[in-house]
């Protein structure tokens, strides 16, 4: 009962709070006011339900129970996929066949959307290195994406370089930018770092905008060629499918590299950095190097994704690289689970594909992105799929320890 009373109170409070913005619409052209009282009612009902849910979630959180339980079957499936190598192989090959056949079976439009989704997967995975693994909140990630896209656009425009030359160059330039940003911000703590990178992202965008003689300013660069394949002449369908496979390959490569990286020396150092910077330093890890490598690795993928993006849309301008893009990529990482590859892939797919297919939902896209970031942080900070770390059981060491013990006894 007190819960219901509290929820009612919440509903009334929110009805009052949102009253002006929700219920009044002033048309200043013909000086009239439109009242939408029904909205307050709907909102009240919505808040009432949400407040109950919120309370319930908190209660569960306090008891230490998981808030979202996926149901028994799904949990087992997930566990199987993780644990049982045969099951894992089966699932992966099914996915691989599906992804490989997708462009051949569906329309060019579907393929195009899938390309966009895969590009975001790539970006989110790249950001995941910096934010998820290393725990460095970067809010200007889109700047590296822009560097990649513009390096292809400009190198093609001025020097006539092709896609395949520009792909590594774009990645490299993004790395250089990453290092250029990473170097001065080494000393900064979490939230300051976030703001500096946000500022950096905005400066890159504003520079692109205010340097028309080089970047074309607001008009951007058009007629960027799609990637070629041994000089073959492809029509739009063929080249879209080609780009699809290219992005798919890039995503697979990203996943392979990152999963290898995660359990490597550098990867473990990154995760140590995320957990505690000072302890990490005390353990003898060279923080400077680790941080810089995180920046370099993260920005590298953004650079690649940028080159592919430029080749895909054939037209780029600064408005594609605003702060909202960065925020969107960040919300993918947050939703998916920082440090978790599978989670980030799933989250990116959901966040890009859902608004495309649920048109009614697309208007509320950004609203929901924002809400997701808040709700996830409160109730499930580890994300949909929490990043698992490999457990080491060091048998060799145990052996020597017991051996030396025995030696002592003898």
């Amino acid at each position: 009962m007190p819960r219901i009373a509290k929820a009612l109170l919440c509903a009334v409070w929110f009805m009052l709070l949102t009253f002006p913005v929700m219920c009044i619409q002033v048309n200043s052209i013909d000086n009239s006011v439109h009242w939408h009282f029904e909205r307050a009612l709907w909102l009240g009902c919505g808040v009432f339900v949400l407040a109950l849910l919120w309370d319930w979630c908190f209660a569960r959180k306090a008891k230490g129970q998981p808030i979202i339980s996926f149901g028994h079957g799904l949990t087992r499936l997930a566990a199987n996929l993780r644990g049982d190598p045969r099951c894992r192989l089966g699932g992966l090959s099914l996915l691989a066949v599906g992804m490989l056949l997708m462009p051949l079976l569906s329309s060019i439009y579907q393929t195009n959307i899938m390309i966009a989704a895969l590009l975001y997967v790539m970006l989110a995975l790249g950001l995941n290195i910096v934010v998820g693994l290393a725990g460095q909140l970067v809010l200007g990630y889109v700047a590296f994406y822009a560097v990649g896209a513009y390096s292809y656009g400009l190198l093609h425009q001025f020097l006539g370089w092709g896609f395949w030359t520009c792909l590594p160059v774009g990645g490299l330039l993004a790395v250089l930018f990453g290092l250029a940003l990473g170097f001065p911000v080494l000393r900064l703590r979490g939230d300051y770092l976030a703001i500096v990178t946000l500022g950096f992202g905005e400066i890159v965008r504003l520079t692109l905008l205010n340097w028309p003689s080089l970047t074309g300013g607001p008009a951007g660069i058009s007629n960027i060629p799609r990637p070629g394949l041994f000089g073959m002449d492809m029509d739009i369908n063929a080249s879209t499918i080609y780009i699809y496979y290219l992005v798919l390959a890039a995503v697979v490569l990203t996943i392979v590299v990152i999963s290898r990286l995660k359990n490597s020396r550098v990867g473990l150092a990154l995760q140590a950095l995320r957990e505690d910077e000072i302890a990490c330093e005390a353990m003898g890890i060279d923080i400077t190097r680790v941080k810089l490598s995180a920046f370099a690795l993260g920005s590298c993928w953004a650079g690649f994704a940028g080159v592919i993006f430029a080749a895909k849309t054939t037209y780029i301008n600064p408005s594609s690289f605003g702060f909202m893009e960065s925020a969107m990529i960040l919300s993918m990482v947050v939703l998916g689970g920082m440090g978790s590859i599978a989670g980030v892939v799933i989250a990116a797919m959901i966040l890009i594909l859902a608004p495309e297919y649920l048109r009614a939902f697309s208007e509320y896209r950004m609203l929901i992105f924002g809400a997701i970031m808040v709700v996830m942080m409160i109730f499930r900070p580890q994300g949909l799929v929490s990043g698992e770390r490999r457990r080491y059981s060091i048998t060799a060491l145990k052996g020597t320890a017991s051996a030396s013990g025995q030696g002592g006894q003898a």
Binding site: L16, G135, V196, E202, M366, G370, V374
Partner: protein
């Protein structure tokens, strides 16, 4: 050079700067108490402008006397924004106390995006005209350097800042706030209710932002859902410039940034106005993260 032009730019910069300072105070107060960059603060400023617009619109249509509209609309904006700030903290930040540092920041970014789109969807994505509500001030006609709205912005923000300074300095609550900012645990031991103080901080910060929102809206007379982002970033820059967590720092930082922008536009070019602010932000954070008036803090383990 031309002294009159210089004075004009100076007053233009002051106007701008005092708005930045009003918003920056919100950032700095919150940061001082809970060390959180309240990313959604710019959105509260935007909500203030919108609330005032809506209230003024309703009053105007129903024939409320002209002179009172501005005052009622401003009061409404302050009340509602204080409520928004209060709710914001309860919903998005309070559950995250004690969480890793980045969690509340991500939550704040989420809230900022949410609030922007809330206004976009509930109201309009277009620019809307804000009615001209300022009284005529004929005595300013001789004073060529100031327009009525500049004058009003300067006056109101100065008064607001003085009131705030007195409040923080002399009242019980103000003292409690300062104590909490210095050492939260110690304040708790002394019987200060930290939750209450944090709420109070958000309420004060949001009211100031609302005031800033109304002033700018009646100065520019055109607003949309997106005005909070840039203004918020610049105000944050001002807060950092002055030393985040320091109240006089926010005021000084706001004025310095406003003047810097005004003189750059006046003597160099307006093209670089926004780049300048972001560049200052980055340079200050990298070179002197404690700002002009902030004290250097030693990081403790």
């Amino acid at each position: 050079m031309d002294i009159e032009f210089f004075v004009e730019l100076f007053f233009g910069g002051l106007t701008r700067g005092s708005i930045y300072a009003l918003i920056a105070l919100g950032y700095t107060l919150v940061y001082g108490i809970i060390e959180l960059i309240n990313f959604a603060h710019g959105e509260v400023y935007m909500l203030g402008a919108f609330t005032a617009l809506l209230v003024a619109g309703v009053l105007g249509v129903y024939g409320f006397p002209f002179g009172g509209i501005l005052i009622v609309a401003t009061l409404a904006a302050i009340v509602w924004c204080a409520a928004y700030g209060f709710t914001l903290e309860k919903v998005a930040y309070k559950p995250l106390r004690g969480a890793p540092r980045l969690s509340p920041l991500i939550s704040a970014i989420g809230m900022s995006i949410f609030l922007q789109n809330y206004v976009l969807l509930a109201q309009t994505p277009d620019f809307v005209p804000f009615p001209y509500l300022l009284p005529e001030m004929p005595f300013l006609d001789d004073l060529a350097v100031l327009s009525p709205s500049n004058f009003l912005i300067l006056m109101v923000s100065t008064v607001a800042m003085i009131v705030l300074a007195l409040f923080i300095r002399y009242t019980r609550m103000g003292k409690a706030m300062r104590a909490t900012a210095q050492n939260r645990k110690m304040a708790l031991l002394l019987g200060i209710n930290a939750d209450k103080i944090i709420s109070l901080t958000f309420i004060i910060g949001s009211s100031l932002a609302a005031l800033g929102g109304v002033l700018i809206a009646s100065h520019m007379q055109v607003i949309n859902y997106n005005i909070g982002f840039l203004a918020g970033m610049k105000a944050f820059t001002a807060a950092v410039l002055g030393g985040i967590g320091s109240i006089p720092g926010a005021m000084v930082g706001g004025l310095v940034l406003g003047l810097a922008e005004s003189f750059t536009t006046g003597y160099v070019s307006g093209n670089y106005e926004d780049i300048l602010a972001f560049a200052i932000l980055i340079l200050i954070l990298i070179l002197r993260p404690d700002g002009i008036l902030g004290k250097a803090k030693v990081q403790k383990v």
